[in-house]
């Protein structure tokens, strides 16, 4: 097995540390809270979420933002546990497009 894309300690090529801080968007606060709530209810464990992020597509792992990775892993684990399925989520998104309008 090659080195995991998450296993970055000591990898060369890192640049200066960007010390700027972005204020969390509502969707990020929501992702954080849902993640914690699912953990508190015993629906999933943090270890499962980490594993889901390790199993992601490597390019996506580097390109996505921190909370986008959380959302992707929340979705992956909920689908794996058959609590939700992808079609339900897609249908709900289509409802949103109707309700909110397309970009």
């Amino acid at each position: 097995m090659p080195r995991g894309h998450h296993d970055v300690g000591g990898l060369p090529g890192a640049g200066p540390i960007d010390q700027s801080q972005h204020e969390l968007s509502d969707w990020e606060i929501l992702a954080d809270a849902i993640n914690q709530a699912l953990g508190a209810k015993g629906v999933k464990r943090t270890d499962e979420m980490r594993r889901a992020r390790e199993e992601m597509d490597s390019a996506a792992y580097r390109d996505m933002s921190y909370y986008e990775r959380w959302i992707a892993s929340i979705e992956a684990i909920l689908i794996e546990k058959k609590i939700l399925d992808k079609q339900q989520i897609d249908r709900k998104l289509a409802e949103f497009d109707t309700k909110w309008g397309r970009p």
């Binding site: 209810k41 929340i74 609590i83």
Partner: protein, 205 residues
Amino acid sequence: MSDDHGHEHPKHELSYYAKRIYAIRDLLLEKGVITEKDIQCQVEYQEARSPANGAKLVSRAWVDPAFKRRFIADPKAACAEMGIDATAINEFVVLENTEKVRHMVVCTLCSCYPRPILGRPPDWYKSFNYRQRAVADPRGVMREFGLELPDDVEVRVHDSTADIRYIVLPLRPRGTEGWSEMDLAKLVTRDSMIGVMDPLPAIPD
């Protein structure tokens, strides 16, 4: 979190994943997996946690040597003494800086951080550049944060790969004899409790 809450982006402009978490939320609520209250509780729990908790603990440790010993020996109990709820941390270790030793904390594999005490980690702590460089070049990282250490100081970088959560007990700045806990706490930055810098210096006269 209601849909009528003011957002910075109109909902239809949200990115793919941002929209998806709203969809997931609605489905989880519909199916009764979690409730609105569960979500709100977590939002409030997180909002109540910030570096101010850590600053309280550190400034108390600076003025009270017996508390400092208790803080190092049993950090969760010391938190409880100060009314700080650290129960969500599985195991909690305090790393004491000295004139000869500086500790620094990273999670190279993800972003483990003592959230129940300090709140959410800063963006930079979660960045690939920090996760890559902290173990390989800790002094270079500290330099970027304004800390240049002499050669006779040992740097110890802790990679929190398991359930242990670390907080650095920074060195009390010189020239703060007789200061109140409240004033001392103002010198204790979040970044000094991660270990990339020392606390702020005492304001010179």
